[in-house]
Structures are given as structure tokens and as C-alpha cells.
Subunit: 220 residues, 2 copies
Amino acid sequence: MDIREALYTTRAMRRVKPDPIPEDVQMRILDAAIRAPSGGNNQNWRFMLVDDPAKREQLGELYKVCIDLLWATIYKDKMDDAESDSTDPEAVQMRKIIKSVGWAQDNFASYPLLLFAFDRNDSSGGSIFPAIWSAMLAARAEDVGSSLTSVLAFKNSETFEILGVPEDKGWKMAACIPMGYPTGTWGVAERDPVHEVAYRNTWGDDVGFVIDEPLWSPES
Amino acid sequence: MDIREALYTTRAMRRVKPDPIPEDVQMRILDAAIRAPSGGNNQNWRFMLVDDPAKREQLGELYKVCIDLLWATIYKDKMDDAESDSTDPEAVQMRKIIKSVGWAQDNFASYPLLLFAFDRNDSSGGSIFPAIWSAMLAARAEDVGSSLTSVLAFKNSETFEILGVPEDKGWKMAACIPMGYPTGTWGVAERDPVHEVAYRNTWGDDVGFVIDEPLWSPES
């Protein structure tokens, strides 16, 4: 798969089938992930694949609780907007996210594979999220859908207990990435265009070009 | 370019030529970056391209000071090791990094393009580093080398002043990515193998496979 197709079409894929992901595919995903850069090339990371049904069940229970907590706290205002009859684009988008995440809440245990990523001494996240994103891009190239959630941090101790992560070694759970073969189709993610979020030389100054349409599309 | 070639060969490229990066290449790099995911798709990010020679000069002065600070503080022990005659792999690697970063210290102003990335309300970095890594991968596909540094954070106010970033809007500088056409060649990054950094189902348990050689190589 072309790099640009992967970069343009890898988006949160929460609705997936329970079909298992073959071991050779898992190997290619992880081997791509560990090629990512980290500060001083310290590779202060650990990855964990979870396919044990009992653990997925337990984690699914935690995930459900954590998402409810997320909606009730950090996303409270957005939830209120979404639950109103607002036609504001943000409210419309939020409704889509709630529905998609609701599917994940109801079906978490059916994800055939969960990838957890842990880092240490990495205050910015800059030494783990490139590897996580590489894993998701490598998965995309194998037609495996994924999404990224940090919400289990609400129940960090419980998650560490299920996974057997030592609490005293400085490891931090950076993300959980549920994976599986999508029930839907891949498409280009909609985003605010570059000229609205990019500047040149000075904050607020035009970046120097306007990009009205994505520079890659399935037809290109 | 194939996604796997990009994932395997995008590594810190600090030694680059002063040749400018054409505008259409810059457009493709940024348009790929903004396709990345962010928490709740909030896209709470800003990107800045810097090609102004006077600003690159000023930033180069800051970079020099910041790297010296980095070596004298966070990397003090590693520096001492590197400066000994140790043949420990970590000391050997550190010597290489010092040399490469030293080149960047001496030549910072000659980078034809700097890409800065800023985020807001993103405590983990998970909503900005995927976009940053996408920019670096998209650059790789254009034969543009890059590296990632957060070291200017040592002189955050001075950097914000040069770039005109408002101090009171919650923006945080996530990274500076110097870019340019490499003087050297691309190669697969050496890393600790997957089976040494990955587990299955329980912390410490075998991931279930051994990967002795990278699963992609220029010959594959």
C-alpha cells in the first residue's frame, strides 16, 4: 500500500468483526511499530497483545465504566450539546463519536486483539505515540482497523492488575488500541484544512497556500 | 512509496543540504499531517513553517544553548559514559548521537525548513505526535529528511517570542522538526527486537514469536 493512502485513510475504526488476526499480521504490525523514533533512541517502551477472552471481557467491563466517566466529566459540555437538538457541526460530530464509542462499549470483548503501549520517562508522549501511530498505519496496510483510546487510565490500577503490569517500575499506559477487520469501508478523514491551522514564520501569518481538497483521494 | 518502506526507513536525518523544499512538497507534507487522529477529533493543533533566514539564525542560537543544557542536565550520565572509553553499546550509540546533534548545532540555520507543531489541552501528547510522525513519514516519501526535537522547550519563552506565539492561549510547543534533503542515504533503523519489548496477555509473558531480522528490508 502506498504511504499516502495509509496516511489519508487510517482513521478510528471501532466497528470490527470478531475474526482473529493471524500471527504473521501481528508480527508485521509490531515489527513496524518498533522502527519508530524515540528520544535519544532510548526505546523505553513495552507493547502487550491481549487476545485472552477472559481478559478482554474484564477489560470490556472497565472500558464501559471509563467511557461513562469520560462523558460525565471531561466531555460533559460536549455531551450536553450533542444531546440537545443543535445542528452545530461539533454537536453533529459528537453524536457520531458517541454512537461509534457506544458500539465499542457494547462489544469491547469481541475485539479479537488489543494492543497496549507503555512508556517510561517520556513526559511529552513524543517517544511512544510515533510507535503507536506506526502500529495503526501498519495495521491499515494489512486491512486491520484500529482506534486509539487512553480512557482506561481512569481505572489504571484495575487495568494494571488485569495485565500484571508492575506498579513500581515507572511504566505508564500510553494507549490501548483495539484492532480487528472492519465491518465498514475506509475513507479519507475529514479535517480542518491546512491553511486554517498552519502559519508561516509568524503566528497568525498565512502559510502561503490554500488547500481546498485533500491532496490524495482514492481516485488519485 | 510503500508504507512499509516509509515506516522502516524514516529515521532521524540531521545532516541535510541547504536546498529549499518546493512549495508543493511542503503542501503534501502538511496535508498528510492533518489527516492524523486526535482525541475526540478535536484537531486542537497549529503548525508553523519557518523558512525566514533571520528567524532560522535566531532559533539556531537558541538550539545550540538548549542542546548544551540537555547534555549538562538530563543526559549528564549518558554524556559521561560517552566521553569515557567505554565500548558499551549505549555509550557507542550516544557518541553517534552527540556527533549528529553536534552537526545540527553547527548548522541549524542552514536547515531550509523548520516545522513547528503546537497542541492544546493534550496532556498525553496523543493528539499531536501522530500528526508530527505523519509529517515526517510524508516527508520521507518525498525524499525529505527530518528529525524531531523538543529541546527548544528549555528556552520556551524566547522561542515563542521569535515565532510570535501568544503565551496566554494555552498553546504548547510539542516539537520542532528541521527538514531538508539528506546528504546521506536512508537505511533501516536498528532497534531492540519485538520479542524483547513485547508481551502477550500478561506482563513478562512471551509474545509468542521471535523476530530476528527486520520483516522489511530494501531487498524485500
